[in-house]
Symmetry: C2
Subunit: 519 residues, 2 copies
């Protein structure tokens, strides 16, 4: 390891002294504790981080997009330079394979560079210019120009299931820094070492690029204590979170109860309904089962887009089910991210298995080792599914529920589903064209609709929507993946009758940045 | 009157039978009650309106932008055709002059037509298209396209201070209908007759245009009872409100406490700080005082952008104050919108007048009649202003507080202000260029910055931002005026790997609507 792990928070450019041990990483595959001990930031240190963030906002928000882009690119470079450390430490903390660590590092640096490119191009600020009409009757029209400006310091919570791409320098951090907001990250107790490696890279980049101290801090100490204190802190102006529904809704409640309520972007729980119509079965039931099994078990089923709920015609799909049963039974147990996810999966599958009308289609026959979960698939009739809220819950891991009924019953069950990140339709083109009300029902409940594909594998791009109605996210108007994620941390500001020289360059008459503008 | 006032709610296309009398309009200038009695919608009728709205959403949200535009234009035409009724009834209910009623009718129809034009042009949906790259390594890139879609039925509360432009068919309703959302309006007890005249026009337009029943309903019965039940109703997906901070934060709390929290766009309270620097005084103190007095007393000071808080150098501006004193003392008391606004103004001025260090610069010397308020201006030092929360409160009416201190003290006081709709700087170009940190402090606290002008007179256009940090609005990321207001009621949806024919026209390869798109 090139990065020496010290076990302490980053308070701006300084390292905390901490107060008391708060956590130690545990190898989920062995239960073995990993050095070092991590120390919780003290209350004073949290105050210092927030006060540095407030002061950094004054200067950081005034920097040009190009300067912020340089910072993001330097973070990406520094993280890339730490990839061997990440590849060494990551599997120990998460149970994820080294290849995933390298791949996710690439996704993380890719996200940083995507936002850098967005800033360099510059048009994302939605500049709008309307010239004065001094002679308009009955009253003159003033010169009015608007563009997006950053909200202020943002609290970002690391996600257990994306130790890089949605953690210290992940999508929330990248989009907040891109918008012009300082970031205070709250580390996840599952992977403190990866957090420290990445934070070391971010701080080195901030110093190298001459960024104001406080543009970034990383706090250890736990989401429920340190995390809540950051969310409630008056300096904080928005929150980014990926995790459980219970934790996300607790943050929403805290943010709403502040003297000044602030937006919370929490990505929480989604079962990602997948509807299979006869036309998809006609293309080959076995192949469909194989592709579905691949999506269901990818990353041990620990993706927010995991397709955990399947609707299948009651009178069709026997071969699909038979092949799926074979695959599940012959499958491999997989190490989950941590002990609490492992016990939550075990508890959730337990309540599915014993719910009225639920049958176990297949359970992986191979022995599960320490910290592992076995793939499992249940079936239930629509009649038993509808009205049983338990069965709408997430099986976070390699578990799925297949609901069988008529097309009309399926459509009616979908109308009763909660909000989802994704909804998938496997069907023929003709079925897609004919079932407009089914497609509309799926669209009204999800952020992304997939046709003849699978929801895992979230493309990071300009048209991605990784956000959906509650409870899949706290705020269905937003996405946490792709360039549109920057809009979460901005608000429009208008300038009326300002002299050209006093306007931001984005709004000046000569358009010195050469961006696309309205008007 | 051509519109016969019946005193009952509009439940879709039907009229309610009501249950019991809930309110009767009162002429604020005389205290006289105005017929008819208005009847509160029953609980069953509210259910019916919500259920119609849910079902209308299915069809209304699927209509083309051009069809929705036709509906908005027809509403505007029908309202225009009722302008004589509005001009007759409006002054009786509001104390506002007939000219204001006619002008505000024009603003209302202008807003409806502005959104119609936005829909007809069509690019507002932010269509983004990224083509598939089937050969990309290591994984193929899928075809991904996104655009904005409506949230669902919206609850709109009528505003007391804009009986037309922010009431039944005002900005919130126009932007929600434009987005594709059915609207359930909750009437304001102050102007039930105007509400009925306008609702009659909206329902006639909906029927003439073949809109689904439930695209619009109007409920009488009071914001705290009927209004809260609509906000808590599972069908409702967003809320638009303009009114007091107490009522707005109560709606925010209800919306946050729902099993499915929903966004609330509440425009609440703003004192709209105006900073006067020596350069502005040097241009002519008396003229500045006259222009300021005009803005302060416009509409009896009952605009959300009323400049109620002025920062003036401690050692300058004597002539400004002297002229302002003359104007206030010689001014006219004005009839306020209703008895409760009148008593709130009286109470608020009472607590200002008795606050530590506050002096009354001038109070209108002419007798105030029934329901009237007299213009009044107070002064206070920065030292007494800072830390006295009462003095940050809104004087909703023709009242202002002038705070005097050094430039450094003013800047520091501004950093302690709550969020505002607007912030105004009166200064020379040189002062504007020199005082970057003062301007940044104003920008961080407001949605719109005005240079050498006044905040009243909100232009309805594409670059207007009429929204600011809490508590000026509940959600500083939004505007309630101008075309950007439509974004409040939308969320992005992505389509992955859909055949061209199954995509919305906005996303089809041939771009049949000819809109601007990304990609």
């Amino acid at each position: 390891m090139n990065t020496q792990l010290s076990g302490t928070s980053f308070i701006g450019f300084s390292r905390s002294t901490g107060s008391q041990a708060c956590s130690q990483a545990v190898n989920p595959a062995t239960g073995e504790k990993l050095a070092p001990q991590y120390l919780a930031a003290t209350g004073e240190e949290v105050e210092k981080a927030m006060s540095l963030a407030a002061s950094a906002f004054q200067t950081y928000s005034a920097l040009s997009g190009k300067t912020r882009a340089g910072f993001l690119r330097t973070i990406a470079d520094k993280i890339e330079a730490s990839v061997e450390d990440i590849a060494a430490r990551g599997p120990l903390e998460t149970g994820l394979p080294e290849g995933r660590m390298r791949g996710e590092t690439g996704r993380t640096t890719g996200q940083l560079r995507m936002f850098a490119a967005l800033l360099e191009e510059g048009s994302w600020v939605d500049a709008r210019i309307e010239l004065a009409q001094p002679d308009r009757a009955p009253v003159p029209k003033p010169d009015l120009r608007s563009m997006l400006r950053p909200l202020g310091p943002v609290a970002v919570f690391c996600a257990s299931n994306f130790p890089l791409a949605f953690s210290v320098a992940g999508g929330d951090t990248a989009s907040a820094l891109a918008a012009g907001c300082p970031v205070v990250v709250i580390a996840h107790a599952s992977h403190p070492g990866i957090a420290e490696i990445v934070a070391t890279a971010v701080v080195a980049a901030a110093q190298e690029c001459g960024m104001p101290e406080g543009v970034f801090s990383l706090l250890y100490g736990g989401g429920r204590t340190i995390g809540q204190s950051v969310v409630k802190h008056p300096v904080t102006q928005a929150v980014g979170f990926t995790g459980s529904r219970a934790a996300g809704t607790a943050l929403m409640a805290s943010a709403a109860a502040r003297p000044q309520p602030i937006p919370v972007y929490a990505e929480m729980s989604s079962v990602n309904p997948l509807v299979i119509l006869p036309g998809a079965l006609a293309r080959g039931e076995a192949a469909l089962a194989e592709a579905y099994y691949g999506s269901l078990t990818l990353g041990a089923g620990q993706f927010c887009t995991n397709p955990g709920l399947v609707f299948l015609p009651a009178d069709k799909g026997d071969e699909f089910l038979a092949r799926l049963k074979e695959l599940v039974e012959a499958g491999s147990p997989a190490t989950l991210l941590n002990a609490s996810i492992c016990s939550a999966f075990s508890e959730a599958t337990g309540s599915f298995a014993t719910a009225a009308g639920v049958e176990t289609l297949a359970r992986c026959g191979n022995d599960a080792g320490h910290g592992q979960a076995s793939p499992v698939v249940y079936t239930v009739s629509i009649a038993d599914f509808v009205g049983n809220e338990t069965l709408q819950g997430e099986l976070f891991g390699p578990g799925a529920l297949i609901v069988r009924g008529s097309l009309a019953e399926i459509e009616s069950a979908i109308a009763g589903l909660e909000g989802q990140l994704t909804a998938t339709l496997q069907a023929s083109d003709e079925e897609l064209a004919e079932n407009t009300s089914l497609v509309a029902a799926l669209q009204q409940r999800a952020g992304r609709l997939i046709f003849n594909g699978f929801p895992t594998g979230v493309e990071v791009c300009s048209s991605m929507v990784h956000g959906g109605p509650f409870p899949s996210t706290s705020d269905g108007r937003s996405t946490s993946v792709g360039t549109m994620a920057i809009y979460r941390f901005c608000r429009a500001v208008a300038w009326q009758s300002f002299p050209d020289a006093a306007l931001p360059p984005e709004l000046q008459a000569a358009n010195p940045l050469g961006i696309k503008r309205m008007g």
